[in-house]
Symmetry: C2
Subunit: 156 residues, 2 copies
DNA sequence: CTCATTGCAAATAATTTGCATGTAA
DNA sequence: TTACATGCAAATTATTTGCAATGAG
């Protein structure tokens, strides 16, 4: 995805949010705008905790609950996805233009890498068809040791 | 897997547990025996809550924490696996003889179906290799609507 | 006897909610 | 003005832990 597509995609997501808020009679507040802006700038798979401190660097008065509620809102309207990996903390990720990606999670350093594999997607659909199941979403995570950690271990 | 293999497998798991307990100097108590027996009889993907009431039907004095600690123990020695699906509750599953299976989860009725797909396993390994990543475990869950719920919906 | 285990209750951790006050529209 | 939003603190939910009493080896 090139720069202008990224730009367009963000614009699209913001429009999605705006439409959802209009439909529900929700209001655009200073806090929400700030939280949303920071969320778009934040690294993928950010936690509420981390996003809160990023937000508080700009406005220290923002409360925990507001960030929670705003991210729930983003998740509801499809702008963000909630992800829970093995550490019991919910992480949020901007909705990708292409939703078909999964995760490699390093159990040593916690690094999360995304991958995409159309062949897996296709087989998933076959499996679902076999069971008469219609897929709405999926979660596919590989836990193990990343290349970095593996080479670090070989050195020690 | 036929009946005698199932039997053998259970025996194997019990031996695994016994060995682990011996190694760690842990004791075989009435509660642990009861909880483990009930766990083996319980449906797959049982919650602590449900297992506790199953256990309390036999011995009402057993505490929540004991079930927790016993299932943690089973998970540690590889007799059970902890699974967390989208509802925020930890579920436990008996370790299968064949570990390579994944889950279809119905978002309507909550039914969890297991599936096995060697082709996906193989591609996973290819993906991992591409990133220099060594897989220790994985989680692959398909969320959607099961055949039953789909036909029920068509009728209404 | 010794030390792991139990059951209870209290502690944590993550998240959610109630409510008085603030503020978009 | 009206009712949604905020920030705080308190409530919830799931899980974990401390500890005195109990019980296995």
């Amino acid at each position: 995805m090139n720069g202008s597509n990224l730009q367009e995609h963000q614009t699209h997501l913001r429009a999605l949010l705006e439409a959802y808020m209009a439909k529900k009679g929700l209001r655009s507040t200073e806090q929400r705008r700030l939280i949303v802006d920071e969320f778009f700038k934040a690294p993928a798979h950010i936690t509420i905790e981390d996003l809160l401190s990023q937000v508080r660097a700009i406005d220290p008065k923002v409360g925990y609950a507001t960030v929670y509620r705003t991210l729930k809102l983003l998740a509801e309207c499809g702008v963000a996805h909630e992800r829970r990996f093995h550490d019991g903390v919910t992480r949020y990720e901007i909705a990708h233009e292409d939703e078909h990606h999964d995760h490699l999670i390093c159990v040593e350093c916690g690094t999360i890498t995304e991958f995409e594999e159309p062949a897996i997607e296709r087989i998933q659909e076959e499996v679902a068809a076999k069971y008469g199941f219609s897929i709405q979403s999926h979660k596919h995570e590989l836990y193990g040791v990343c290349a970095n950690c593996r080479s670090r271990k070989r050195l020690t």
